[in-house]
């Protein structure tokens, strides 16, 4: 990195006391790790020529003046700089400890809310059917606001509040075109990234997304959530029929003799994740057989079925 070396004159005999009485070095080295040296050199040269510090009204002695209005410390010289740093440190510490204090108080109040919600949940559990659905929904939305897990179902998702219903409808609108562009199916992680990148602010949490998607089918929206055996979650267009896609996958594999998930993905223009799921589904339906070796997982048409 760039360096500027500043050579110092020997100390004058009437030098004021400072942090150090003497040093074995006669220079200081300034290192610039991320640029700035040009501008700095210019200003340094200027100041060394002008020597404005020799004409400062506070003069030779190091004084610490308290500005009564601002309550700040005005200081000159290295000791002054040190004092300012120390004050900044103290203030930062004070900020942090104040923040912690305030945080603790806040948490106490939050804890009360958690206790109250547990009590309500117990009542709901005991009196199944005596609490109106409206009140249950209200309760769930309170839990959502506080970030408290639903004490009855023990899930933090699957909460089904009005918010999630609205979100589900929004998603149906947003995802229609992207889904069509991608062959009718997208993984939930793809959806998460797509939606949040589009939003920029007020992003969805992963749980918000899952909760909303769980309501798609019951709200009769043109999309649905599907969970494969592997646990992979996807959103499909209602019009999309994965089982039909399996038939065309079988054709593709037959044409090539055999395919791995990677190869199939490249051929068809799908993500490897979804390609694998399709091939696995085809296998589950009996159309494909696997050859599982260290070279990878390869799928063949199931000749046992077709040629028996």
């Amino acid at each position: 990195s760039a360096k500027i070396v500043v050579h110092l004159h020997p100390a004058s005999s009437n030098k004021e006391p400072g942090p150090f009485q003497s040093s074995k070095y006669s220079y200081i080295k300034l290192s610039f790790k991320e640029h700035g040296q040009i501008e700095f050199y210019r200003r340094l040269s200027e100041e060394i020529t002008q020597r404005r510090w020799e004409n400062m009204p506070t003069g030779q002695t190091i004084q610490v003046n308290k500005d009564p209005q601002a309550g700040r410390t005005r200081a000159v010289g290295i000791v002054g700089i040190e004092r300012k740093l120390e004050e900044k440190r103290r203030e930062t510490d004070k900020n942090i400890s104040e923040a912690f204090e305030d945080l603790s108080k806040l948490m106490e109040k939050a804890k009360e809310m958690v206790e109250l919600s547990k009590s309500i949940a117990n009542k709901i559990k005991e009196k199944q059917g005596d609490i109106t659905e409206d009140e249950t929904i209200r309760f769930k939305s309170y839990l959502l606001s506080m970030g408290i897990a639903n004490p009855v179902t023990r899930e933090t998702y699957g909460s089904g509040t009005h918010y999630h219903m609205q979100l589900a409808k929004q998603l149906a609108g947003i995802l229609q075109t992207p889904l069509e562009e991608r062959g009718g199916i997208m993984s939930l992680t793809e959806v998460y990234c797509l939606v949040n990148r589009a939003r920029g602010l007020e992003l969805l949490s992963p749980e918000d997304l899952v909760n909303a998607c769980k309501m798609l089918e019951s709200l009769k929206l043109p999309l649905r959530l599907r969970i494969f055996d592997s646990g992979v979650m996807v959103i499909e267009l209602q019009s999309h029929n994965e089982e039909e896609m399996v038939a065309s996958a079988l054709e593709t594999v037959s044409e090539k003799g055999s395919l791995t998930a990677d190869e199939f993905a490249k051929l068809v223009g799908m993500s490897v994740l979804l390609a694998k799921e399709r091939l696995l589904l085809a296998e589950k339906m009996g159309h494909l057989c696997r050859d599982d070796s260290v070279e990878g997982l390869r799928f063949y048409p199931n000749l046992f079925l077709t040629q028996s």
Partner: protein
């Protein structure tokens, strides 16, 4: 009649409590707003404070990241910070998946995420990454956190990794590779068991086989190649990351 009366009482009590909760919620919202106006910056700028905040929430049974619609997220802005981080984590993992089979060390993930965020973005700690990843699990993509030798391996594919696989990964962490003999001597396993585990890792693309090593074949884990760490994500890889 007595039964009915008791039942009625019970319902009334629950309704009362709901009304009480609603009031307390409004008050809490005000308290939180006040807290946010004074300390929102602290959360944004100070990773240690974020850790404290999260730990305190966990202690009392509150998840500030459960929903973007929650008070915490809306008023403190913690939500957006972690959900955006989630997107960045997914992108890095997707881009590098073909290199490492879906396993990456927390260090490398951290480096790549920081690079992607740029010089002027808010600082992100490893703890922040772990919290974001824990939230991503719910998306069903196989996100997982595997402790190895003092740090963590982050899994981002739905491959099944059981205790046997994990233990071998931990063994491999020291040198970046492992052999059947090492597994046999350290873990006291039969050859067959060791081979099964290694073959599974090979199939998943998480391990590479070096048959030309002196002595016996070595099974290397790309996720643990420290030399590859600062390798840039190529444009082709970046394209793979954005579906």
């Amino acid at each position: 009649l007595l039964q009915a009366k008791y039942k009625e009482r019970g319902t009334v009590l629950a309704e009362d409590q709901l009304a009480q909760m609603s009031k307390q919620l409004d008050m809490f919202k005000t308290n939180l707003e006040e807290f946010a106006s004074k300390h929102k910056q602290e959360i944004r700028k100070n990773p240690e404070f974020r850790v404290q905040f999260q730990d305190m929430c966990a202690t009392i049974g509150v998840d500030p990241l459960a929903s973007g619609k929650g008070f915490w997220s809306e008023m403190l802005g913690v939500g957006d910070f972690y959900y955006e981080l989630g997107v960045q984590i997914i992108e890095v993992c997707l881009a590098l998946k073909h290199r490492n089979g879906g396993l990456i060390t927390l260090e490398e993930l951290h480096q790549q995420v920081l690079k992607g965020r740029g010089k002027f973005a808010q600082d992100v700690s490893q703890d922040d990454l772990l919290r974001a990843i824990k939230k991503l699990k719910v998306l069903g993509n196989g996100f997982g956190i595997i402790p190895v030798g003092g740090t963590y391996l982050i899994q981002s594919v739905p491959a099944e990794l059981n205790m046997d696989h994990t233990v071998v990964l931990q063994l491999a962490e020291k040198k970046g590779y492992v052999t059947v003999s090492e597994i046999r001597s350290s873990l006291k396993w039969e050859t067959e068991r060791a081979k099964q585990v290694l073959e599974h890792l090979l199939k998943e693309g998480m391990a590479w086989l070096d048959m030309q090593a002196a002595g016996e074949p070595q099974y290397w884990l790309p996720a643990l190649f420290t030399e590859l760490y600062s390798q840039e994500i190529t444009p082709e890889e970046a394209k793979e990351a954005i579906p």
